[in-house]
Structure formats: C-alpha cells, structure tokens
Symmetry: C2
Subunit: 195 residues, 2 copies
C-alpha cells in the first residue's frame, strides 16, 4: 500500500520511515509553502536514506494564518499544529496511508485520536504514527543505531521543516525581532544517512 510519510529531514520522521519500510511502499513527503527552497534539504536526506520523495506545496494562506497566530501567541505551538494538520490533509488527498513521525512525548505537533479518526473518515485513508508508542529515550537509542545525524542551532542546520519557512515568512512580513520573540533557541537535527 502506498504510504505518504510527512518528512522534515529530521531524525524522528526518518526513523518512522525505517519502521514502516517493510510494511508499506513509503514515499517521504515534505510539505512547504514555496517561500524558500529549504524542502530540498529534506529531499537530500530522503535520497541519503534511499526513499522515494515528493514535495507538496501548501496554500500560502496556511502559512499566513499560522504566522499571524504565532505572532499573536508569542510562541509557535498552535501555528505549527495548524500547519501540520493542513499537511496531513494534503497527504491524505494523495495516499491511502498517511503517516508522520510524532512521538509519544511530543508536545507539538500532536495528532489526537479524534483528529486521526476524522482524517481517516473524511478521506477514507488510514493514519499511522509508528513512533507514537516510543518515548524520547527509545527513539534516541534507535536513531543512534540506525541513522547518521548532524545537529546544531535551528538557524545553522538546514532542514525541510515548517519552521525554516515560517521564520522566513515572518521576516518577509514583519522583522527579525518577531522571529526571536516567537521561536526560542533550540537544537535541530538533520539526517544525513543510514548508520
């Protein structure tokens, strides 16, 4: 069965791909807004992992609604959640199995049972989250064994995740100060191959 797995180039979605590889025909799908070309970093990671890749361009409205929400909130959580749900909808329109790399302990994005069921019923698909039964430590151990990863501050590790483009969109619409307000400094990771 054809499975579209939302893929940022980061270690969680890469590990999710390895878990599903034996059971589905997995394509790694990176959703973006056409604001930057950073989705190409995810494509490189997908190639390094040996998976098929597709990029899906979401409507710019999704980005704008998200950055407005983030600016109002002063933190990214709800905006990222909105974007993730829009990306799941886009994948559900094209694949019979929709997957992502959300973990048990993730705070954002999360996909509740109700959101999963709604996605499945409306699109006649199955949503699967292979890491949702794995905690941080179990994921880290598997990543260390199966993946080669580089990590560093968000702005220095080029990824294909929503954050990179949403930062750029905030910069376009407002200024650098809003970015610092919304996004606290944190470490990012990018997958560069299999171990």
């Amino acid at each position: 069965m054809e499975c579209g797995l939302l893929f940022s180039g980061g270690k969680d979605s890469a590990l999710a791909a390895l878990l599903l590889d034996e059971f589905y025909d997995v394509t790694l799908v990176t959703a973006h807004f056409g604001v930057t070309d950073d989705w190409q970093h995810a494509e490189e990671a997908a190639e390094a992992l040996g998976f098929a890749f597709e990029e899906i361009e979401l409507d710019t409205d999704v980005a704008d609604t998200a950055v407005e929400r983030m600016r109002d909130d002063g933190f990214p959580r709800s905006g990222i959640q909105q974007v993730h749900e829009a990306a799941l909808e886009a994948v559900a329109a094209k694949y019979e199995i929709v997957a992502d790399g959300t973990r048990r302990d993730d705070r954002v994005p999360t996909v509740s049972r109700a959101v999963a069921q709604s996605l499945e019923d409306r699109h006649d698909v199955d949503y699967v989250a292979p890491l949702s039964g794995f905690g941080r430590n179990a994921v880290d151990d598997l990543v260390e064994t199966h993946l080669v990863v580089e990590s560093g501050p968000s702005e220095e590790v080029p990824k294909g995740d929503y954050e990179t483009e949403l930062r750029a969109r905030i910069r376009e619409r407002w200024n650098e100060a809003i970015i610092s307000e919304v996004f606290p400094d944190h470490e990012q990771t990018r997958v560069v191959g299999r171990a």
Copy 2:
C-alpha cells in the same frame, strides 16, 4: 537490545513483534498464573512466527485480585487492566525494552503516558507500544498481509491470553454463571503462522 514483548498468541501482539523485529532482539513473553497450561498455545504461535519465547508466572494474588474486581464490576475491563500492568512490571524486571501490542483504539488494556513513564522511571527501561499509532483498519490490513490467523468464539480458540485463565479461576472459585456475567461473547483470534 533485549526486548520482552507481552504476547497472547493473538494477532495484535504478533504484528507488534513483526514491527519490532528489525530493531530489537525480541522475545515473546506470555504472562500466566499457573492455573491452566494455555500459555503453551502462545508458545506454539511464537514458534510458528520464529521468535524466542518465555513464559512468566505471575503471583496468584494478581489473578485473585483481578477476578474479584471483575465479579464486583460485572465486566472484565478493570481486572484485565490490573493484570496487564502486573505483567508489564514482571517483564520490566527482566528486559531493558518492555513492549506490548496495544492499539490506538484499544479500550482495555491501555497504557497511558503516565503509566508508561512510571514503568520506565522505576525500572530504568523503555516501554514501547509499536501499534499505539495504528487504528483497527490499518492493523487488520497488515495482519491480513503478514499473518495467518484463525478466529472464533473465545472458548473455542485456545490462546495464551489472560482471559482464558481468569475464566478458569472464576470457575474454580465460583461458577460458570459468573463467567457469563463478566465476559460477553466475543471473537478471539490466534496466530498460526506468517503469511
């Protein structure tokens, strides 16, 4: 890493084993009370699947507390949950990775994030539930592709699950009528091999 996966001989825990097979050194573990020899049905299923097998005998007190709770409640849910948590504790004492086959839509047993975290912290283990991000339909599709299963009413499909022994324990302590009160008729499945 050594992973002990709670195994009933049913399709969910068998599929969980296939999902984890590439990532851990999986042993299928059947917990029982020494009331009947039904755990041997799980051992047969484990052999058919090509996995290592271990049986763990839980304290009879666990069974008695559970059947008393079931009799008081008039339904099995809380009693089964108690037994499952006791079985997880027993596996956590012997393996560094503790796993089970609970699905996203399972009503019982369920392992909440809090229960998982508590198990992990107290035993210095990781708890993983590879099917917790899969709904009923996705599990059924994978089972159909990867497993050979027989199904039928609970009393006719011999399994190594808690229910078989708890029924026997209720019969020993009270009578057949209590069994019918506590356990509604439902279909069981037992794995007989890989597809």
